[in-house]
Amino acid sequence: MASSAAVPTDVKRPSLLRLIRENKVAQGLTLIGPANVYLVLFMVVPLILVGILSFLSRGEYGQVLFQFNLSNYTRLLDPIYGRILLYSLGVGVATTVLSLLIGYPLAYYIARAPARQRSLLLFLVLVPFWTNFIIRIYAWIMILRAGGFLDTVVQWLHISDQPLHLLYTPTAVMIGMVYEFLPFMILPLFTSLEKIENAVLEAAADLGAPPYRVFLRVTLPLSIPGMIAGTILVFIPAMGMFVIPDLMGGAKTILIGNVIRNQFLTARDWPFGAAASMILMVLTMVFTFYYARRAGLSEELVV
C-alpha cells in the first residue's frame, strides 16, 4: 500500500472516544443521552402531538381533520364532564388518603424491623408486581363477586347469609385502587422512615417526650418527604386510572379515564379525547404542585 500524505505520528487526531474520555461535559451527555433521546422521542413528541390534536376536529367517519378550533375544550365545559372530573379527583384523593392511612403503619413497621426481617417484608410488598395487573384485578373480581370467595367466608362465619354484592360498586373500585397503589405509597414512606436516626428518637424521649409525642413532633415531620413522594406516585396515576373502575365498577362508575378511553377506542373522536387528556394532565399538575409546595418541597424528594 502506497503511503498517502504522511500523517505525523506524534499528532493525535481528535476522535469522539478521546473527547468523551477527557471532557466531563461530554461524559455527562453520553450518560444521559440515550435516556433523553428516548424521552424526547416517546414522551415529549407524543405529548406535543396530543396537544396539537386537541385543537383539531373530528370528521364524519372518525378521521382527524386539520381544522383548528376550540370546540373540544368548550365541550368539556359541559357540567356532565365537570362532574366526571370532580369524581375522578375524588377517587384520586380518596385512593391517596386511604393508601397513606393504610401504608404508613405498614411502612413504619417495616422500617423499625430488624435488618433481616426488613428485606423479607419489602419482598412481600413487591411480590404482587410479579403478577400481571389485569390478572390481579380479576382475582379481586373473583373474591368480591356475589357468591364469590368473600361471600363464602362471610357465610361460613355466620356473619350474614345474604350475598354482599360488593362488586360493581364504588367500594369495590376503592378496594381495587388502594390494592394496586399501596406499594407505591409504602416504598417511599419506608425509605423516608428508615433514614431517621434511632438516636434522634431516643433524644426526643430523653428530653421528655412520651412515645406519641415523639411520633407527632419528630417521626411524622421527618417522614414528610416520603409522604410527598408517595402521594405523587399514587395521585397522578390514580386520577387517570380507568381499568379498575371499568372492570370492578361496572357501567355505573365513569371516570375521566374512561371518558378518554371511550373517545379513542369507541367514539373515535380523537381530538376530543386529546382535549380531555390535556385537561386531566393540567389538573393533575396543578394539584400536585400546590400540594407539594404546601407540604414543603424544599425537602429532598425521596422516591
Binding site: 434522634v200 431516643e202 433524644a203 426526643a204 424521649a205 428530653l207 421528655g208
Partner: protein
C-alpha cells in the same frame, strides 16, 4: 428525694442476645456510686460496657439484673421521658427539621413551659454555649463544634439532676476537642450539675474528671481520682491502660507492712517495692514501674533497685527523651525530661550506651498476677 449519691448502679448486669443466638454479657455485676456535683467518667476501650451502662442510666436499656438508682429512687423499667436525666449523644442527634432555637426549646415544650419562660431559658442556655446568634439556623448549617454545643444546650436547658455525655467530643478535630474539654469542665463547675462522661480517651478522662471508673469487658476495675488511678493502679490492666508502664514477673520474698521485697527471676535480683494490695511471701506477682519514674545515670547511684542496661533505641520527643534499654534480657522503657539545651549530640543518649537505671522503691508497685 435526697440521697447520698446522684446515681447508683447496684449489682447491674446486662445481657444481650446476638443475631447468631449467643449470649453477650455487656455489663457484668457493676457497682458504681456517683456523687452529687461531681464530674465522673467511665473510661475503657470499645465493648467494655461503659456506653451500655450510660444507656441504662438514661433508660434506653433496662438492666437484666440489678437496678439503677437516681437520687435514691430505683428506676426499674421507667422509660427515658420520665427520668430526671438528660443525654448528650455522640452523634448529637439534633432535630434536623427544627431550628437551633426549636431544638433547645423542645425539652421545655415537653414540660409544658410557658412561651415566655421558654424564650428566656433557651436564650440563657444558648448564651451559656455561646450560640445566641445562631438560634434561627438549622443544624445542617452549623459546624460540628456548633452542633455539639446545641446538643449540650438542649440537654442543659432542662436543668436535669444528672447530665449524661456519651463520647460527645469524638467527632471533633484535636484542637477543638481540647478547647471543648476545658469548656465542658468549666461549665460543669459553673452549673454544679453531676456529669457522667463516657470516653475511651484516657487523656480526656484524666483532664476533666473528679473521679474515673476504668472498665473492661463489662467490669469496673478501679474507681478513683486521676492521681490515684495513675499512681496506685490496683491491677495490671489499669496500670497498662492508663499511661505506660514496665512489667516484670516476680515472686514476693518478704513483706513488711506496705513494703515488700520481690525477686525478679529474669534478673536473679531482688527489688524493693511497694504493695498496692495485701500480699504474702511466695505470691506470684507482677511488678510495675512507670518509665518517667526511673532515674537514669551513667554511674550506679544506690545499692538497691539499681540495674545496668544497654540502650538499644531512643526517641526524641522534644520535651522528653524516650529510652529503650536492654536490662538483663528484659526490655525496659525509661523516660527523661530533656534538661539539655545544647545541640551537642554527645550530650544525648546514644545506641549501645551503658546506663544505670534506678527504680525508686515507692514507684515499684506490686500488682496481682492474673
Amino acid at each position: 428525694m435526697q440521697s447520698e449519691f446522684a446515681v447508683e448502679l447496684r449489682d447491674v448486669v446486662k445481657k444481650f442476645i446476638t443475631p447468631e443466638g449467643n449470649e453477650l454479657i455487656a455489663v457484668d455485676h457493676v457497682n458504681m456510686q456517683i456523687r452529687n456535683g461531681e464530674f465522673f467518667s467511665m473510661l475503657g476501650s470499645s465493648g467494655c460496657g461503659k456506653t451500655t451502662s450510660l444507656r441504662m442510666i438514661a433508660g434506653f436499656e433496662w438492666p437484666t439484673e440489678g437496678d439503677i438508682y437516681i437520687e435514691g429512687e430505683p428506676q426499674g423499667h421507667r422509660p427515658p421521658f420520665l427520668r430526671p436525666v438528660n443525654t448528650v449523644f455522640q452523634s448529637y442527634a439534633l432535630f434536623q427539621h427544627m431550628t437551633v432555637f426549636q431544638n433547645v426549646a423542645f425539652g421545655l415544650e415537653m414540660e409544658h413551659a410557658t412561651k415566655s419562660e421558654i424564650k428566656s431559658r433557651v436564650g440563657r442556655a444558648l448564651e451559656m454555649v455561646r450560640l445566641s446568634s445562631m438560634d434561627r439556623r438549622r443544624p445542617s448549617q452549623l459546624s460540628g463544634g456548633q452542633q455539639q454545643r446545641v446538643a449540650l444546650a438542649r440537654a442543659l436547658v432542662k436543668t436535669p439532676d444528672v447530665l449524661l455525655l456519651d463520647e460527645p467530643l469524638g467527632a471533633l478535630d484535636l484542637k477543638l476537642r481540647k478547647e471543648m474539654q476545658l469548656e465542658l469542665k468549666a461549665l460543669q463547675q459553673q452549673v454544679g450539675i453531676t456529669f457522667i462522661y463516657v470516653t475511651h480517651d484516657q487523656e480526656e478522662a484524666l483532664t476533666m474528671s473528679d473521679r474515673i471508673a476504668v472498665m473492661s469487658y463489662g467490669r469496673v476495675l478501679q474507681v478513683g481520682p486521676a492521681v490515684e488511678i495513675y499512681e496506685r493502679p490496683t491491677s495490671r490492666f489499669v496500670a497498662d491502660f492508663i499511661g505506660e508502664s514496665n512489667f516484670f514477673d516476680g515472686t514476693v520474698k518478704a513483706v513488711n507492712q506496705k513494703k515488700a521485697v520481690v525477686t525478679i527471676p529474669a534478673w536473679k535480683q531482688d527489688l524493693q517495692a511497694t504493695l498496692v494490695a495485701d500480699a504474702a511471701a511466695g505470691d506470684a506477682v507482677v511488678v510495675s514501674v512507670r518509665p518517667e519514674k526511673i532515674q537514669i545515670s551513667e554511674q550506679p547511684k544506690t545499692n538497691d533497685n539499681c540495674l545496668e542496661g544497654v540502650v538499644f533505641n531512643s526517641t526524641y520527643i522534644g520535651s522528653d527523651t524516650h529510652l529503650f534499654l536492654d536490662v538483663g534480657g528484659q526490655q525496659v522503657k525509661a523516660w527523661e525530661q530533656n534538661r539539655v539545651s545544647s545541640l551537642d549530640p554527645h550530650l544525648f543518649y546514644r545506641k549501645d550506651q551503658k546506663l544505670w537505671l534506678t527504680f525508686p522503691a515507692e514507684n515499684v508497685l506490686v500488682l496481682p498476677k492474673e
